[in-house]
């Protein structure tokens, strides 16, 4: 690395020798991972090159409607994945879509209104992607926690129902636990930023030649937006999904496992 912002293809070719290190260990230790490694490397290169071309096209196509459509497409994909994690959640896809969409919308709106970013594809797509994928991971954790709590805490819920409590009051602890579970990884990673790791975005900016102080400003923005979006998405998804564990007679029902 010589401080320039471009990497030559020849340099990349030389760097690809690092893959041989993995192959050597696999062969030496009889891990039988050689085939998997080669496939994964080839896939990574092809996928990234393809994405590079797609992003080049997308960033050049400065139509706000197209950008919105792409963000919606990303939201749908993330919702689909989150819903798959929470099979025990009734109407998981719809709830996930709503939660991620609102979390993303609110966060992006604040960032746009504060003047930090503009509604340009080269800013909206990567930042939207970070927000959406973070929400997706948070929702998966929320759903897992919720399904497990509703299975393991039947006695607590039925005790509260038997005392005449509504389903919301009976589930409040579980909802709280699930929201916390969704938010904690983002909070924990915020706590250790700069101490344990230099996050990807900041590293990328520094590698691309941006001054560390400027890169840090971006990272602070990313930290704020990820905290906000996981809080909003986890909150909405948990408050919308707990009802699916009850029937219309306010009785706890058995739902299939995650």
């Amino acid at each position: 690395m010589n401080g320039s912002t471009t990497i030559h293809v020849t340099s990349l070719m030389i760097a690809s020798s690092l893959v041989f290190v993995t192959l050597f260990f696999s062969y030496w230790q009889k891990l039988k991972l050689e085939k998997e490694t080669i496939i994964s490397v080839v896939r990574a290169v092809i996928q990234l090159v393809a994405v590079g071309y797609v992003l080049n096209f997308v960033f050049g196509y400065k139509n706000p409607a197209f950008t919105t459509l792409l963000l919606l497409f990303m939201t749908f994909n993330a919702s689909y994945n989150a819903a798959k994690r929470g099979r025990a959640i009734k109407r998981g896809l719809l709830i996930s879509f709503l939660s991620i969409a609102v979390g993303t919308l609110v966060t992006l709106l604040i960032l746009i209104l504060s003047g930090i970013i503009r509604y340009e594809p080269y800013q909206m797509i990567p930042i939207g992607g970070m927000i959406i994928s973070n929400s997706m991971v948070a929702l998966g954790l929320c759903y897992k926690q919720m399904a497990s709590d509703f299975k393991n805490k039947r006695d607590e819920i039925e005790t509260k129902l038997a005392l005449g409590a509504d389903i919301l009051l009976s589930s409040k602890e579980i909802i709280r636990d699930s929201i916390k579970t969704g938010m904690l990884p983002t909070i924990d990673s915020a706590k250790t930023l700069g101490i344990v790791s230099l996050p990807g975005m900041m590293t990328g900016l520094i590698l691309a030649g941006t001054s560390p102080m400027e890169a840090i400003k971006y990272q602070i923005m990313v930290t704020f937006m990820l905290l906000s979006t996981t809080a909003i998405s986890s909150f909405i998804s948990c408050y919308l999904s707990y009802r699916g564990f009850f029937n219309n007679r306010k009785q706890l029902v058995n739902r299939r496992e995650n």
Partner: protein, 218 residues
């Protein structure tokens, strides 16, 4: 007048028949002991009474009205259910005894709590005790007090004394008997033959999900 009325009630769970064609009438003020082997459907019978589950077939009515026509929360406030293994939530006893007040959105009444503490032979300072430091008997008495704060019309007891020592059992029996004398209908599942006949005026035997006998006790 009949207080609870089961009419040809069936309950099936995971294709397993738990209760079969159960028809029984429980009068207001009754003290009904329910006996039967483990797994015969006794607890299911009680859970149906307070609408924590609904029959697969047949109908249950309370004071002549089908349970499905009641608001479930309002119904459960009138038909209290105490579990065999009491579940106390939070860190302190107070959180448990405040809960019924929170549910009804009314201010906490210390006097009512003290009154029930005295019925169950407990000192007033129990209110601030930590749940984790209570014995099984103390937990069960707190759970009973929690269910009785608002004087339910029917009290459902699911083997509440099975894990208690003789002294605690005696306290609970006396408290329940006195409640019954004041008009509360009692449905009490017990494995203890002597206990089943001690205070009850009716004895219901459930076997294999069916009513085996319903006899009056003199």
């Amino acid at each position: 007048m009949s207080s609870l009325d089961f009419s040809h009630v069936f309950f099936t769970n995971d294709n397993q028949s738990i209760l079969k064609d159960v028809s029984v009438s429980i009068d207001a003020g009754d003290f009904l002991s329910i006996v039967g082997p483990s797994g015969s459907g006794k607890s299911t019978f009680l859970k149906l009474c307070c609408h924590l589950i609904s029959p697969t077939d047949g109908a249950i009515s309370f004071k002549g009205k089908n349970l499905n026509d009641y608001n479930p929360m309002e119904l459960r406030k009138q038909i209290a259910y105490c579990f065999q293994m009491p579940y106390l939530f939070g860190d302190h006893v107070k959180e448990n005894l405040e809960f019924p007040f929170v549910v009804r959105n009314v201010p906490f009444e210390q006097e009512r709590v003290d009154e029930l503490f005295s019925v169950f032979h407990m000192a007033n300072d129990y209110l601030h005790k930590e749940v984790k430091n209570l014995s099984g008997g103390e937990k069960q008495r707190i759970a009973l007090i929690r269910s009785l704060l608002f004087k339910p019309e029917i009290l459902l007891l699911d083997e509440v004394t099975s894990a208690l020592d003789t002294a605690n059992t005696e306290i609970v029996e006396q408290a329940v008997k006195s409640l019954n004398q004041k008009g509360t209908t009692i449905l009490w599942i017990t494995h203890n033959t002597e206990q089943s006949r001690k205070h009850a005026n009716k004895l219901l035997t459930i076997e294999n999900g069916e009513i085996h006998t319903l006899e009056a006790i003199q």
